[in-house]
Structure formats: C-alpha cells, structure tokens
C-alpha cells in the first residue's frame, strides 16, 4: 500500500508490502484485546468512585490515589500527611523481588555457563532437565518448597542429622522463605536467556585473552560478562517483574503477615475491603514503576550498543 521509500534498501525485500497491514492485523487485534483494553479499563477504574462491597460508581474521583499517598488517620478526618503504609509495602516487595533476582543470577549464571560449555549434544538434555520441574503447577511447587523448609522438614532433618545444627532453622514464615520461593519459581527465566547469550559467545575471545596473559577473573569480568550482558539483563527483568507482583510465595511461605504488592491488590478485589478503584490505582502505580524501570534498562542497552 505505502509504496516507494524502500527502493534503495539493503537486504530487505518487499514481497509482502501490499498485504503488510493485513498480516499485522492479528498481532494488533490481540494486543488491543489482551493488553490495551484491560490496562485502559484499569486506568479508568482507578479514577472512579468505589462502591461499597466491591464495584464502582461511574463518578470521577481521585480518592483512590488520595488513599495511596495521603494518611488521614484511622477515622479519615485528619489533614493529609504522607502515607507510608503503601510505600512501605511497595518498597518491601521491590526489595524481596530484588533479592530473589540476585539469588537467581548468582545461581543461574554459572548454571547457564555450564550448560552452554557442554558439548552440543548434551546441551539440549541439560535445558530439558532445567525445565522439568516447571511442568508442575506453581502452587504445588510453592507448597512443596514449604514442606522442604519446615521446622520438621527434610532440610532441617538433614542439617540436624549431620550435626551441623543443634536447633532447627525456622525458615518458613520469614522473608528468606519468600525469597527462596521466588528464586525457585523463576530460576529458569534467568538460566534460559543467559544460556542463549553464552551459547552465541565466541570462546576464541577468551582464548585470545588468556594468550595475552589475562587472568581468569579479568576474562570473565571484562570480556565474557559484557558480551552476554543482554542475556543477563533479560533474565533479571524476567525474574524481577513477576516476583514483584507475586502473591503465592508471600502468602504460603511468608505467612501472609505483611501485604506485598500482589496481595494488597488481591485484597481489594477478593477480600473484605472490596475497594476496586484503590486496587486499580495500586496496579497503575505498579505498572508505571515497572515501565520506568524497563525504559531505564532499554536506554542503557541502547547506549551500550552505540558506544
């Protein structure tokens, strides 16, 4: 349809030019239905008036955002002071997700490196093995994790039996349990992109560096890691983002004593509060945060690519 302009182009052929719009249609339709529509609905709902016990009244209101940022006391009649409750919940979730991401990176990078350096025929098998636990539902895996970590669970039994501990470690219902749960839930999302990057890495670069007397640590830090950085960044995003919104691990492993972003939002729709606009507002704030984070990553990537 839009002819010309591509005449002097490089390797791109324009065989599909006349039907390009039609070919893109399914992608646009699914993006609209699955992404744009729900997010717009959320945006609209966050500016509506809440209906008692769930639902919305179609009247413009800022009270959801006011509730998020303004502390007006137990009875809601004091002047606005900064509301730390929800900022604290967000901060805690970010911290948890960040810790889980670092843990995944620490275990995931060596794992991916190991797999990528196996002979080609073995690699598929290793990747296959990494994905096996993920054939099982997330809920089941999280509950199993709880059984492993329990005070009378196998982990403590083993440590006590070996004489490493004299008292069982209380891990369940702590932040550590949540981080372990998130780490375990999303580890393959870290391993697979890094594996893909390391597999493409040209190992003769490492050999060349070694020939020039670069110590191993320097080779890893200055040659391997920069080369596979896109994989690392992708892995970190893929672990961090779902960890941020998760509520299974915090509820089951953390004891649900403190709200996380995910459980706070869930409570607004499923719980007693029944405050849909507030749930939508909290989701919008989360979405904005993640978006800003991804933009920063993307810009850094672009800069690194150009430099």
């Amino acid at each position: 349809m839009a002819g010309g302009g591509t005449a002097g182009g490089g390797p791109r052929t324009d065989t599909y030019a006349p039907v390009r719009l039609w070919l893109l249609l399914p992608a646009w339709v699914s993006l609209t239905i699955l992404v744009l529509a729900p997010v717009s609905m959320m945006l609209v709902y966050s500016f509506l008036t809440k209906e008692f016990r769930g639902g919305v009244i179609w009247e413009f209101s800022l009270s959801a955002y006011d509730q998020f940022f303004c502390n007006r006391g137990l009875f809601g009649d004091e002047p606005c002071s900064i509301e730390w409750t929800y900022l604290l919940i967000f901060w805690r979730s970010i911290w948890q997700a960040g810790a889980a991401t670092l843990l995944s990176l620490a275990i995931g990078f060596p794992t991916a490196y190991f797999i990528a350096t196996r002979p080609a025929r073995q690699r598929a098998l290793w990747v296959f093995l990494i994905t096996i636990p993920y054939w099982v539902n997330l809920l089941i895996r999280t509950v199993s994790m709880k059984f492993l970590l329990r005070d009378q669970g196998p982990l403590n039994d083993a440590l006590l039996g070996l004489g490493i501990l004299s008292e069982p470690l209380s891990i369940v219902n702590t932040n550590l349990a949540v981080q372990l749960g998130l780490f375990y839930s999303y580890l393959p999302f870290m391993v697979l992109p890094i594996y893909a990057a390391v597999e493409r890495y040209n190992f003769s670069l490492s050999e060349a560096a070694a020939d020039l007397y670069a110590p191993r640590w320097v080779i890893l830090r200055r040659i391997v890691i920069p080369a596979v950085k896109p994989g690392i960044v992708a892995g970190c995003i893929l672990v961090f983002v779902p960890s941020l919104g998760s509520f299974l691990a915090p509820d089951l492993l953390g004891g649900a004593k403190t709200f996380m972003i995910g459980s706070l939002i869930e409570e607004q729709f499923k719980g007693n509060a029944g405050n849909w606009p507030f749930g939508a507002a909290a989701s919008m704030i989360l979405l904005t945060m993640v978006l800003i984070l991804l933009l920063i990553f993307a810009r850094q990537q672009a800069r690194a690519g150009n430099g």
């Binding site: 008692f52 016990r53 769930g54 639902g55 137990l74 009875f75 809601g76 409750t85 929800y86 604290l88 919940i89 329990r150 005070d151 009378q152 369940v172 219902n173 509820d251 089951l252 004891g255 649900a256 004593k257 403190t258 709200f259 729709f269 499923k270 719980g271 007693n272 509060a273 029944g274 405050n275």
Partner: protein
C-alpha cells in the same frame, strides 16, 4: 412424600437406561472447598440425570467479589455464610424461592426457619452450622485454654506459633469479643484500643492462612490455630493432639446456607438440589463428612454416632456465648478496613 420418592426413583431408573452417555440437564454449584462429599454429588447427578459442575471459593468475600465481577448468571446455587446471605440479598444477587416451591421446606428445624439474616427463608436453606474459635496443641501447652488471651495475649510457650485465619471478619470479630466491645463499634476510643491491641498481638503470630488452617495444626507447624469446629475435629482425627477451645469471652457462631442465585441458568435443578439437601439422609452425609451440624429435622438416625459426643460440637458449661458476625454500615466498615490494613502492613 411417597410420590416424590417414587418419581425420583423413576427418574433415576430412566437416567440409568437412557442417560449415562449424556446427562439431560446441568447444575452449576459455587461452593466452599472441601465441604461436600463427592458421593453425594454423584447421587444427585444419578437421581436427576444432571451433569454437576462445581467451582470452589475460600471466603465469603471471594464469593461476593466473583459474583459482582460478572459471574452472576453462571452459577445456580452458592453457599454463603449468614452475614453474607444478608449482604448478597441487599445487593440483589439472590432469587426468591416462591412459597410452595420447596417440597421439603418443612424439614428445616424451627430455630433455623426464620433467621435474622434471611427472614422467612426467602432465598436460602440451611446447609451446615458450627462455630469458629481456636484449637491448641496440647503437647505444646497444658494450661487453661478457655480464654481469648491464647490468641491475643498468649503465654510465652505459644508466642510465635499461632496461625490466624486470613479473614478480616473472623479475626476482628474475635478481637471484639476479646476486648468486650461491640463488633461494629463507632466509639473512637474503643476502635483506637482495638487497633493498638491487634498491633501488639501480631508480634505473637506466625502466619495468616485459611486454606491450610487444618494442615498447620496437623503438621505441628502451628501450636495454636484459629479454626472452624469441624476442621478442628478433622485435624484431631488426622492425629493432631489438639483441643478446640470455647473461650469464656465468647466465640463465633456461623451458618452456611444454600442460596438460589439470581439469573440461575438451571433454576429447576437448583430447586431440586435444595430439596435434595433438605432430605435428612442427604444433609446428614454432609455433616458426617464436614463434622458440623445440620439445620434439618430428623437427621439423627443417619449421623455418625461419634458426632453427638465430639468435643468440638459440645461447648462446656463455662463457655461464653456464641455470636454471629455482624454487618456494619459503610462508614464503620471503612474504619475496620483501615484497622485490618494497619494490621497487615
């Protein structure tokens, strides 16, 4: 009665010969988890030649949220608790059962025939009733457990080993009993004191969980658990050395009810199902399974004999009063929502 039995038997016979491949009708139930024996569903399905579909929820609030979010019109019947029947009726989510539609309505025990949450039983029939209190592991603690101090101001050996239900209504109602204040108090000093008391109590709690309220007691992960009486009985049957408490400050009484939902796609089958559950033999099967109490006359011959003497169903003489959870107005409820958020922040 005889005629009804005859027709159901006939229907069952027809169902067996003609059906089996494809059921004639359908019944879509929205129910609590782990609350009805599969054999009973199979029996109804066979007798009436219907295919039964059941989804489950884990709190009254989750049920309300799902229905308000658009699930109304999908389900025929649901099983809300007492206060939720009142809320759902107020929200216009329930259909009215016309006089004479339920053949077995007379089977409802007189004390449950005209409850405050559904006058005249216009929308509901009794399902099960029981209490919510807490159970204590007797290996962990040997002292007196007949007080709500066990939950809110526990002795040192129980501190940090308490699981609470992850349910605002049940936690805050129990807290109100503990402090001896009304459930929907509007007195600012009382509300502030309630807020402060819960903040202190939280330091003693290990977790909030409703779904695993029974499992944590059986596994020993928790030494004290806020729990429903039937769940406590099941936990005991599964080997936990626990005792269900009836505190002197009082405890929560509840009744779950089968309601006819508005716009039920299979209204006729829903009515049949309600009649089915008003038959003493059938509702007794639920009681034997769930270990609560039926609200239907004539169930006694069908009940498991151990139920009559199980400690979870028999409050001691010095127990406090059992109270229903109350429905607060919007302004009051918002303060309670704030207290709950403060508790979990």
């Amino acid at each position: 009665m005889k005629k009804l039995l005859h027709t159901t038997a006939l229907a069952a016979a027809l169902g067996l010969t003609a059906g089996a491949v494809m059921a004639e009708g359908k019944l879509v139930i929205y129910h609590w988890f782990e609350y009805i024996p599969q054999e009973l569903l199979d029996k109804f399905a066979a007798e009436n030649d219907v295919e039964i579909v059941m989804d489950t929820y884990d709190s009254n609030e989750a049920l309300l949220a799902a229905l308000k979010a658009g699930a109304i019109g999908t389900y025929d019947v649901a099983v809300p608790g007492d206060y939720m029947v009142k809320i759902m009726a107020g929200e216009g989510l329930l259909d009215t059962i016309a006089e004479g539609e339920l053949a077995n309505k007379g089977n409802i025990q007189p004390e449950w025939a005209d409850p405050s949450f559904d006058p005249g039983r216009a929308h509901s029939i009794p399902y099960q009733w029981g209490s919510t209190s807490f159970a204590v592991n007797r290996d962990a603690y040997k002292g007196d457990i007949g007080t709500t101090d066990i939950l809110f101001n526990p002795p040192a050996e129980l501190s940090g080993k308490i699981n609470m239900l992850d349910s605002q209504g049940e936690v805050l109602a129990m807290a109100a009993l503990h402090m001896g204040i009304p459930q929907c108090s509007q007195d600012r000093e009382q509300l502030k004191a309630l807020n402060a008391m819960l903040q202190d109590a939280k330091a003693h709690w290990a977790s909030f969980n409703s779904d695993t309220a029974k499992e944590v007691l059986v596994s020993g992960d928790a030494a004290v658990g806020q729990i429903y009486d039937g769940f406590a009985a099941k936990a005991r049957a599964e080997g936990a050395n626990i005792e269900y408490a009836f505190p002197k400050q009082g405890y929560i009484v509840w009744m779950d009810n089968v309601v006819l939902l508005k716009d039920a796609p299979n209204r006729d089958n829903a009515i049949k199902f309600m009649d089915f559950l008003l038959e003493p033999e059938n509702i007794a099967a639920v009681t034997n399974y769930a270990r609560y109490n039926a609200g239907v006359s004539g169930v006694e011959p069908y009940l498991d004999p151990t139920l009559a003497t199980q400690p979870e169903s028999n409050p001691p003489a010095d127990a406090g009063a059992g109270v229903f959870i109350e429905v607060c107005d919007q302004a009051t409820q918002e303060v309670y929502d704030q207290i709950w958020t403060n508790l979990k922040k």
